[in-house]
Symmetry: C2
Subunit: 467 residues, 2 copies
Amino acid sequence: MRELTIHLDQKSRTPMYEQLYEYMKQDIQQGRLGAGERLPARRALSQYLDVSRSTVDQAYEQLISEGYIETKPRKGCYVCQIEGLYHLSGDRAPVKHRTEQEKPQYLYDFSPSGIDLDSFPYEIWRKITRSTLLDDKKDLFQLGDPKGDWELRDTISGYLYEARGVNCTPDQILVGAGNDYLLLLLSTVLGPRQRVVMESPTYLHARRIFRQLGYEVSTVGVDAGGMRMEELGESGGNIAYVMPSHQFPLGLVMPIKRRLELLSWAEEAPERYIIEDDYDSEFRYKGKPIPALQGSDKEGKVIYLGTFSRSIAPAIRISYLVLPSRLMSRWESSLSRFSSTVSRIDQTILNRFIKEGYYERHLNKMRGIYGRKHDILLSGLRSMAPILRIHGEYAGVHILAEFTNGMTETEAIERAGKEGVRVYPLSACYQEQKRIKGEQVLMGYGVLEEEDVRKAVKRLEKAWMST
Amino acid sequence: MRELTIHLDQKSRTPMYEQLYEYMKQDIQQGRLGAGERLPARRALSQYLDVSRSTVDQAYEQLISEGYIETKPRKGCYVCQIEGLYHLSGDRAPVKHRTEQEKPQYLYDFSPSGIDLDSFPYEIWRKITRSTLLDDKKDLFQLGDPKGDWELRDTISGYLYEARGVNCTPDQILVGAGNDYLLLLLSTVLGPRQRVVMESPTYLHARRIFRQLGYEVSTVGVDAGGMRMEELGESGGNIAYVMPSHQFPLGLVMPIKRRLELLSWAEEAPERYIIEDDYDSEFRYKGKPIPALQGSDKEGKVIYLGTFSRSIAPAIRISYLVLPSRLMSRWESSLSRFSSTVSRIDQTILNRFIKEGYYERHLNKMRGIYGRKHDILLSGLRSMAPILRIHGEYAGVHILAEFTNGMTETEAIERAGKEGVRVYPLSACYQEQKRIKGEQVLMGYGVLEEEDVRKAVKRLEKAWMST
């Protein structure tokens, strides 16, 4: 065989054997050492290169285990017959640099989705986190129950019963990393070819998720009570997606009569279900919270979806499904092998946050904070009574303003924008191509501070009242 | 209307208005107040009950917003016409108590899936967690990039290039809460009717997940190089699931020749892909780690699946997919709306753990710890050379023991069990009904401590060598 000219760097941080291995691998990959060619005997090579025998052995072993060379008994090492090795050239793909998000061009943004994070109890969260990591050791770092830790599910079911009138056992609860994930999981429980019926207007993010899960999604109109029952009946759908305690975006509360009609619709066929998205029912500024539809469900027809992402913080990737026993046993028989998507550490922290009363305190505090912003916004808008009417107030973190002077939503948004205030088109919550008349705008007050709400409304008055 | 006999408790912690609301709701639900019946005028009722007018107002408002009563202008309040109200009786579902896990009946358990958590750097993890929660405020509690935070993806791609020879940009990485979730997500990217081909034997958990995702799963045999190419070709499948750096359970390393054959198989058709599950390649006790198959992929055919659950701790619910650009753009066009399943807090902690060098130190430490256990186990088993042969050593956290004296798997497991030692049947890793001959057992050494491995092997010697 031809002479190998190998230069090994004694001072390099890369071990000698690795340098030798790399060198020979290159030679093989670039064909300088051809298939079937015999490699120098180990002792000979170690003498030739003046390196220890073990250096050569290690290099050869590595080349053998990666399949570049093979040993033939009593013959020595040979280069393997490998097709398409030219493949293996090429360097690391260049790393594109991250694209910066564009700056907001509005002074005041009434985003309907934002929530107030200034009031998040960082101190307490930190305290609980610290002591949780101190208390527990190994156990917390193990993989937990696929449904979620029993303690957390027990706490959630207790909370849901007290606060939302939801009637379930911990066994009916599935804890998961966010609503989108749980809807993904639910889709595999329900199986393909589901026909989801949503209200129009509705929460379009949920619709996109359903579409991406391959569901057929149709929409029906709403009246003062929410989803129109006749249209639902005619839709041919088998899953009704509703937000009975506070419909998004209209802010309607579904009255008990309609709730019971919806339940009996579902009871008419075994594969009919209702998805109750209880996204922000924690926040109500008049009277007590509206109980959940699930509490009136006696036949196991309501799939209840709740989340802590809105009531605590978006980064808390913990949501939960309350499944009717029939669906839960389906999950158990097929999907129970899916490992939990929430770490036991995070589950323990949240569980303590709730059990030790911090969650309730936090909710009360937020109710106060949102309530004040709500009142400031309302009193401001009421002074524009001649040109607009308010809908969906007293709950959640957004309201609707409907113009009674014929101003279109587009015009209202443009005028507001000129004043540096961002409001959102209601029409964007409709999935139909045919645009609705569009005389209403969405205004979320979660993110803005009280003072900003005050200032923003002043600007809106200027923008909308001036003719 | 008939007299209402209402007893309100001034001393109760429940507000007066709520007591009144509850009382009237009960009356309506139980039919004592019938549909269409007129409620007492507010002022009259407040005088009659000797409560403030606002108490009555609040109670009526709540009943109105929930749809139990309605106001008729200049007429007063009437009970609504509601069908099926009898529905609404019934108390909270009884809470079944959690079922205790049964105690282990083995002294020493060579579980192939367990990992060593005694050596987890709890202190450092706690330190990073604390300072992370101190440093950042609001921002960390916001929802992050659906793909995962750019910083973490950048760190991962750097690590993968250095440690695994994986060639990707941060943009090709999807961070998610665990392998199962990522396979679920992948299934929606690939779409239905995929035909997955796995080796036999293989990692059956992955197979169950594929089946639950509705995939058609077929299996092909393995030889010394791993998946048999002819059988793969005949299988009609379009997705090959392999573990080239350390096949589970056989512990085979796929040689470069077979890797290139696999890649050219995939290149023959656009819808063909290879899923490379690189589940425990961090741990190798001889030479350097075997590079990932992905590094040899020039045509975008390899879907690389990696996780931190095994290399750090199962509770760290952070895994990642490296997608070929073609699949990633599919994800971007359809699924990019799915919110991330990993909290920004956890992503930041992990990112710092890696960037500040703790991950590498941890891996080196674990390599040492697992390596020692590995050596103790091997030297013990080698003393049984006359009756068994060892396979799949020098990597991962498990090995295979094959009996050469005709002892069956079942017999070996029974004998070991009598000595309080648990070993696992290789045949359980085959998906075919027809059992294989079964003369091999799986032995994982991740969980057991060095001393226990020593003691356990002594017992196995007693169990297996005595005739």
